[in-house]
Symmetry: C2
Subunit: 222 residues, 2 copies
Amino acid sequence: MARGRPKDPEKQEQTRQALRQAARVLLETKPYRSITIRELAQQAGTQSAMVSYYFSGKEGLFISLLEESGEQRQKILLSIIDQVKEHPERALELLVSNMIDAIVNDTWLVRLLQDEILTQQSQLRDAFMNALPRRLSQGLNSLLSALMEQGVLRSDLNLKFTETTLMSNILFPLIAEPLLSEVAQVDRQVVSSDAWKQHITLLLNQGLQATDASPIQTGPSS
Amino acid sequence: MARGRPKDPEKQEQTRQALRQAARVLLETKPYRSITIRELAQQAGTQSAMVSYYFSGKEGLFISLLEESGEQRQKILLSIIDQVKEHPERALELLVSNMIDAIVNDTWLVRLLQDEILTQQSQLRDAFMNALPRRLSQGLNSLLSALMEQGVLRSDLNLKFTETTLMSNILFPLIAEPLLSEVAQVDRQVVSSDAWKQHITLLLNQGLQATDASPIQTGPSS
């Protein structure tokens, strides 16, 4: 039974990492449901048996991938929160820019969101929700709440609505890329550009309306 | 071959409508791909043969549904544009409220967007894109452009980005309902509430930031 199983812990971790990386790569071209254990092993340069040995099967491998990603993203969120606390006057700019950077290149994660969370036949839903939204929502919520108390954000804001608004403006262009790239020429590359980040920052800072309603310049406050 | 086919044009139209209505109803509980011709006919109270007689098959029926919906939505958009032209000072409020009303109850359309446009294995993509986004985008674009020229919207806005922002804030909460209803308690019912519409209108009008940056009141302009 133990034939071919590496005993060296470092090698074991390498194989685990290679399988998770294989999962990410395969998700870029095909949906979770179509990926086979054989393909995962082949892409990782290992044997099919390793998938069940290390992860008790395909689902376990993807759950492990989500958990790793959730932990990384929680660290990223904490560092964004630290930056925002240091520069509350740039809160929305920092949130937008860092949150976009933290997701824009992870096509595999956007793909899982499209295929497994937003459709009716979800298989990984619970693992996904536990690893990412449930974990991250709380941190974002307390940050937004602190920014309202500090007078950075409007005091009349509904916290849940505001959290949704952040997600809408950051995630929608990525998950709706098949639609938006055609009708508005907004794709992944545009979303990672400074011009896009500035657009979203200005939207959240001051809206889309012309500022003729408050034309008087009060000059720099410093 | 002609056995059972209604000859009366009115009855023919009734059967077509009943089949389109059956398609809408079935989409609320299952994905396009799983719906069978037999189920469609049963739901519509007609025979399976009618699906190929009137629509040359299942795909044709759904394409017809999308085209009908695209025409209706184009009329709705034109009437929204007329309202906005009459009340440019309420442009964003009217756009938000009317655009939400025009989509929030069409779960079948959101479902098709989730299942057929945002995933990799789209079967209805072209029909969907032609019937709705391609058709509606132009009208929205010229409206936004006119509002910029009139000084209602900021003159530095990128039109394509602004169009994307409208779609993000209106569509994301609907297509991401499985995620948002749990992490932010924002669901279809919340989206159709006045509180939500007001949140989005204020976001687009003035952003999320506290307005302490421009505290000087210039008084009403009239």
